[in-house]
């Protein structure tokens, strides 16, 4: 090779290297200058991630701090069907670990058109871990909070339910959702190629939901539910409800509906059973409603407890005949006796003297026809005829508790006013939120102390000598009223076989600490409030008095 050729080849090689180097330099310049931002973002997204920190839902406690609704850790299991190599084996592994039916799971895991399917939301963490330990490709796991009701049946229709997304769907969970939920936090992390967190570069703290303390007492609630179940079973009734309230504060110690259900199984229960019927449903109260007319007549001075009336067994009111429950001759009764003996003729006579306008006023004054304001969603305001809708015969049935529909909570609030020396206190379920102040309910004077004392005396006689003797509790004086109301038959009249039996009363009679209402819907074998509901009242009262160590008057 001549020197000339060699030199040419060397120059060619140098040119080649220089070209390659120039291309590399240009490429580096392009990547680091023009593509810098885009590539930087890609890198950041690969090693940085912003994670949401869900807040812990507040716990619902009873008045003694016993948990009724609490958030517990659960693990949600999901799958990417496109990554599952053997769907059949995977489904069997799910069956083994989580207890789900492989036949139901297999179609989900075999569906390669989807990249994400839930296998089970909020599974037990231990069971999910056993699946995770099998290291089957395609399954993923993340922690969630699941709402748990450890007392199961206790207060189920009151607590309501927080669904799979931990949002309140009914009951107190819905009413208090904002308070219980809290706010989400965020944190931005730097992670390594294996997904492990190296550093937290930014965080926005959230706040957990607040805990709520109710006025409910889990022991009294449990006892009330047991008594209701026994009562409903014994009388083959459709349903039963009861409320126990402290008339001095309006705090509800127990509110129960039977048949009940396990709060953890809320989605499987019919809507009818889910309702807190003591707040949302109405009934015609019958004779328990008589205190409205009697109280109004006493308060206005129209009558005194000893005012006498000559009362036949039956009277004509417009196109209707009103008579007493038990046949009798014409008798003279005092106002006192009219209520304690539950005379329909007597109450209607006083109502006619009071007049339609004033009777209607007293109905509204006692809180009927509007919600009580109890802190529970879906409260019914009841059904009260507007004054312009009253016919000639309305004065003959509304004062005796027919042709009007009330809720149990309205009725107990009214009797609470009589028990609390004429002052009605708004019934409530929440005692306090977190460490905050106790709830201060609305107070409203309905009747004077004198009138409430007089009515209380009459109601004592109902229990001591009248239709409510089955409500007696040894050693205590009770005041109360029985109610037996025929249900509407849907054809404009009243059924002769379907009744609502009720008893509402308070104890001790002189300084009441408890107001208790029991309603039994369509009992069979007996229909009378004094036979069906009064014994349930006695059983509940006996327990609560002993439990709360309330001495007799």
């Amino acid at each position: 090779m001549t020197a000339r050729v060699a030199n040419r080849r060397i120059r060619l090689l140098i040119a080649l290297f220089a070209t390659v180097f120039a291309i590399a330099l240009l490429r580096a310049g392009w990547l680091q200058a023009v593509r810098a931002q885009a590539l930087g973002s890609m890198a950041t997204s690969q090693h940085r991630e912003t994670i949401e920190v869900p807040p812990h839902r507040g716990t619902i406690y009873d008045r003694l701090g016993v948990e009724l609704g609490v958030g517990t850790r659960a693990t949600t299991v999901y799958a990417n069907p496109r990554q599952i190599q053997d769907p059949r084996a995977a489904a069997l592994a799910v069956q083994q670990s989580l207890g789900l039916d492989a036949a139901n799971v297999y179609p989900l895991l075999a569906d390669r058109s989807r990249g994400f399917v839930y296998v089970e939301r909020q599974a037990d963490p231990g069971l999910a871990q056993s699946l995770q330990d099998k290291h089957i490709q395609g399954f993923g796991f993340y922690d969630e909070e699941r709402r748990d009701y450890p007392q199961k049946h206790l207060g189920a229709s009151v607590l309501g339910y927080a669904g799979v997304d931990n949002k309140g769907l009914s009951g107190l969970e819905l009413q208090l959702d904002k308070t219980l939920t809290g706010t989400r936090g965020e944190k931005t992390i730097v992670k390594d190629p294996f997904g492990r967190t190296l550093e937290v570069v930014d965080s926005k703290p959230g706040s957990d939901g607040e805990n709520v303390y109710l006025t409910l007492d889990h022991s009294i609630q449990g006892q009330v539910e047991r008594v209701l179940e026994e009562t409903r079973t014994r009388w083959a009734a459709k349903s039963a409800s009861a409320i126990v309230m402290d008339p001095r504060t309006g705090g509800i110690l127990a509110i129960a509906n039977d048949p009940g259900y396990d709060a953890n199984r809320f989605p499987d229960v019919s809507q009818d059973r889910q309702r807190n019927r003591a707040v949302t449903d109405t009934y015609e109260p019958g004779s328990t409603f008589k205190i409205v007319t009697i109280s109004g007549a006493l308060e206005t001075g129209l009558v005194t407890p000893s005012t006498k009336f000559t009362l036949p067994y039956e009277i004509q009111v417009a196109d209707r005949k009103i008579h007493d429950a038990e046949p009798r001759g014409t008798e003279t009764m005092t106002t006192d006796q009219i209520l304690s003996r539950s005379s329909n003729v007597g109450v209607v006579t006083i109502a006619e003297a009071l007049g339609q306008t004033r009777v209607n006023d007293w109905i509204h004054r006692f809180g009927f026809g509007r919600p009580t304001g109890i802190d529970f969603p879906g409260e019914s305001k009841g059904i009260v005829l507007a004054p312009e809708e009253w016919s000639g015969s309305t004065i003959g049935n509304v004062p005796i508790g027919q042709g009007i529909a009330v809720t149990p909570v309205q009725m107990i609030a009214a009797y609470g006013a009589i028990a609390n020396r004429g002052v009605m206190i708004e019934p409530h379920l929440v005692d306090r939120v977190g460490d905050g102040q106790r709830v201060q309910p609305v107070r409203r004077r309905i009747v004077s102390t004198t009138t409430s004392d007089q009515v209380r005396h009459m109601l004592r006689e109902v229990v001591e000598e009248g239709s409510g003797t089955a409500a007696q509790v040894p050693g205590y004086r009770i005041a109360g009223k029985t109610g037996t109301a025929a249900k509407p038959d849907g054809a404009g009249g009243y059924s002769t076989s379907a009744y609502v039996a009720s008893f509402v009363g308070f104890v001790p009679a002189k300084h009441p600490r408890l107001v208790i209402l029991v309603t039994v819907d369509e009992p069979r074998g007996a229909i009378w409030g004094g036979v069906v509901a009064a014994p349930a009242f006695a059983e509940i009262a006996n327990f609560a008095l002993q439990y709360l160590e309330i001495p007799p008057d």
Partner: protein
């Protein structure tokens, strides 16, 4: 210069390791808090009066106690 650079790198690595440990401890704490809450919930469920009553009557065949009323009498100050 080389020693300085090596020192800076070692320091950064140590900081990263500490951060990872802190994150792991954070996660452990969260897990322990959750476990405690789960146990508390199980405890409440186990101690529920309804459950105890059911076991007493259906499993142990114990009878319902007779109702006894206790009256507290007022003390006479004489």
């Amino acid at each position: 210069m080389a020693a300085l650079l090596a020192g800076i790198v070692a320091l950064n690595v140590a900081v990263l390791r500490l951060n990872m440990q802190v994150e792991q401890l954070d996660n452990q704490r969260d897990e322990l808090v959750s476990k405690r809450e789960n146990i508390q919930s199980q405890l409440t469920s186990t101690a529920a009066a309804g459950r105890i009553e059911e076991i007493a009557t259906k499993t142990l065949h114990l009878g319902t106690p007779a109702s006894t009323t206790y009256l507290e009498l007022k003390h006479r100050g004489d």
